[in-house]
């Protein structure tokens, strides 16, 4: 997992609440057995027209937002299915940071597993960032995880992030390696595991 310290990039506004993981990556792409190749599937139904060409109406297709690495969007982003294909698709599309008033739990975990920083800000602040990104297409922001601050032209917004999440993202650490440091504790638990949980086969 690639460490994330400071991200400077174009801000793409997606002003919709409750964007579910079926929209982020539709089911027909879930049949693949690889971890990569989902970038072109991101927001598929919104992004392409019937003939497969780009839908010019979809905000991310506007030239000024091409190459965006920061997504600002509505509340409850990533709700629905647990498919990790959703963060895989967003990461491959180019997003390293997603800012929203709230995130669905499983999606939030999946982002952390893939080095995507999710930032929760109050609804008014998110709406203000969306407005700025819409009014100044191609606007860039710097998201500084070390300083826990979002910076831009006349913008300085501090953000909260769980200390352990910050540590993992800054260092690009993978969970399994961390857990296996507690191998002895796992073995010890297996010895004291409540008996009734071990009946049945």
């Amino acid at each position: 997992m690639e460490p994330l310290r400071v991200v400077t990039g174009i801000v793409a506004p997606l002003n919709r609440p409750n964007v579910d993981t079926d929209q982020i990556v539709p089911k027909q792409f879930l049949k693949r057995i690889e971890r990569t190749g989902y970038g072109p599937a991101a927001f598929y139904d919104w992004r392409y027209l019937e003939d497969g060409s780009d839908n010019p109406e979809f905000v991310l297709n506007k030239p000024a937002y091409r190459g965006a690495s920061i997504l600002v969007t509505g509340k409850n982003f990533g709700c629905g299915s647990s498919r990790e294909h959703a963060p895989w698709a967003l990461l491959e599309y180019g997003f390293r940071v997603i800012i929203a008033p709230s995130f669905a739990d499983i999606f939030n975990n999946n982002c952390l597993q893939n080095g995507i920083l999710t930032i929760t800000l109050p609804e008014e602040q998110v709406q203000e960032l969306i407005r700025l990104a819409e009014e100044q297409p191609g606007m860039k922001l710097t998201v500084d995880l070390e300083q826990q601050e979002i910076r831009g032209d006349g913008i300085q917004i501090p953000f909260e992030v769980d200390e352990f999440k910050r540590f993992r993202l800054l260092n690009g650490l993978d969970d399994i390696g961390l857990t296996l440091q507690h191998e002895d504790a796992i073995a010890a638990y297996e010895q004291r595991r409540p008996e009734y949980l071990t009946y049945g086969k």
Partner: protein
């Protein structure tokens, strides 16, 4: 000792390791895997030279991407076929019990876990599928995880987790006739919203919940994720124990009695404190139909498609406006006047034997409206065989329903069962998202009874009036 909630008891009994400020390492008793969210996890193990720590606590089956046509016909989608073969090879390589497409135990992972007796009170259960919350109906802590977490559980049999908060949703009083478990959960989501449960484990309590069968409890817990919750759970009781007794993977003989004694200690203690409590009166619930593109957009069958000015200006109103446009509905339309093209009875929410019996009772002796295409997809091969033994298949076939093989099918449309653009479906599944059942498809979530009644009429009808007439 301070009184504890059931969730806290289960959590405390599974702590492997904890350190302030860091996620707690929680032991997993049962890991269910399927073809869609596991291949990248097994590949990760191989690349790191890791093994599956507890293959004995891991099972695998195929459900999401399989066709529901005859098992004698091939899987024609080459990408899906590769995914199915990959799970078979992974199960073999890592020594995991695998119920393949031809196994009598195959089925939707959340249907076979309980049916085979793997799902038991007090367990921590995970699966790379958000509807793992289903298993909480037995008094288990069951949650959906992503593929990286699947790999983590395969490698370590544990999951690092920040402790969620607890919410009690109490449904007081008796459920009115014609109002089902599906209506309870749709009613709850309509009230608390699709993010109302975010960060919480919900425990459902109250007389209306206690009086539900295990199938009904599973329907309620299944859609906890649609309220945003990490998990849903219901305290085990005599109904739970009676369901589990004699199931092949449940404790047997004297062990069963010992297990029951332990299971009886799980329910929340009197005076246990929840972080939030929501109280709903059962007699205020009706049969519900969703009108929009998330499960919180719901109206009673007696109601109408809402007017836009019923929503706060801003994101909520925009979202409702967009939903109505996608769904092709006019504000103020009576729900009963919405015509339908398709009916889907199935999914991990409502495809168990009791669901099929309830739908068959409505259908018996009637015909599907000629402009409707209706299908029944049993949740598991076991459910299908049982339904056939009871003659339910014949009732559906005589009425003009298709009777299919078991799988997730048109709940998510990963297999060939999908809606055409613009088609409108009465569905017993769990998600009415844009394109969920096929690009441009329009989904209305309902109970099995309501779906069956809509199939006959060609539009939504109040199932309560139907049963009165007969």
């Amino acid at each position: 000792m301070a009184p504890k909630t059931m969730f806290e008891k289960i959590w405390d009994a599974h702590v492997v390791y904890e350190e302030p400020g860091k996620p707690t390492l929680i032991y997993v008793d049962l890991h269910l895997t399927h073809e869609v969210t596991s291949p990248q996890a097994f590949e990760g193990l191989r690349l790191a030279g890791r093994r599956v720590r507890r293959p004995d606590l891991t099972i695998a089956t195929v459900d999401h991407a399989i066709p529901t046509w005859s098992r004698d016909l091939p899987v024609t989608d080459p990408i899906a076929a590769t995914q199915l073969a990959t799970l078979a090879a992974n199960a073999r390589e890592f020594g995991i019990t695998f119920y393949d497409i031809r196994s009598p135990h195959q089925g939707i992972v959340h249907v076979i876990g309980p049916q085979l007796g793997y799902t038991q009170p007090g367990k921590v259960i995970v699966c790379g599928d958000s509807h793992t919350s289903t298993h909480g109906a037995f008094g288990a802590f069951a949650l959906g995880i992503g593929t990286s977490e699947v790999e983590h559980v395969l490698a370590t049999q544990t999951l690092p987790m920040m402790k969620p908060k607890t919410m009690e949703v109490r449904v007081e009083g008796t459920l009115p006739p014609g109002v089902t478990a599906k209506d309870i959960i749709l009613g709850i989501i309509g009230r608390i919203g699709t993010a109302g449960g975010t960060g919480y484990v919900i425990e459902y309590t109250g007389e209306a919940i206690r009086s539900l069968s295990m199938e009904g409890r599973m329907t309620v817990c299944n859609m906890s994720i649609e309220a945003g919750a990490r998990a849903g759970m219901i305290a085990p009781d005599e109904t739970t124990f009676a369901y589990l007794r004699g199931r092949p993977h449940a404790p047997q003989g004297a062990d069963f009695e010992k297990a029951v004694a332990a299971w009886r200690t799980l329910p929340s203690d009197p005076g246990a404190v929840y972080d939030r409590t929501v109280v709903i009166r059962a007699d205020e619930l009706e049969p519900y139909v969703t009108w929009g593109t998330n499960p919180g957009m719901v109206a009673p069958i007696s109601g109408r498609v809402p007017q836009l000015d019923e929503f706060e200006p801003g994101p909520d109103r925009q979202s409702a406006e967009r939903a109505l446009e996608y769904m092709g509905l006019k504000p103020g339309t009576p729900i009963r006047e919405i015509p339908i093209d398709r009916v889907f009875i199935g999914s991990c929410t409502n495809s168990r034997i009791e669901d099929l019996r309830a739908a068959a009772a409505i259908v018996r002796g009637h015909k599907v409206n000629p402009k409707v295409r209706a299908m029944v997809v049993p949740g598991s091969t076991g459910v299908k065989l049982q339904a056939e033994a009871e003659g339910l298949d014949q009732i559906f076939l005589d009425a003009g329903f298709e009777w299919r093989e078991a799988g997730c099918s048109m709940c998510l449309g990963m297999n060939p069962d999908i809606l055409a653009p613009g088609e409108r479906c009465a569905s017993t599944s769990n998600r009415n998202f844009e394109g969920r059942q096929g690009k441009g498809g329009r989904t209305h979530l309902v109970s099995p009874q309501m779906a069956a009644a809509a199939a006959l009429a060609g539009h939504f009808v109040d199932v309560r009036e139907l049963t009165k007439e007969r």
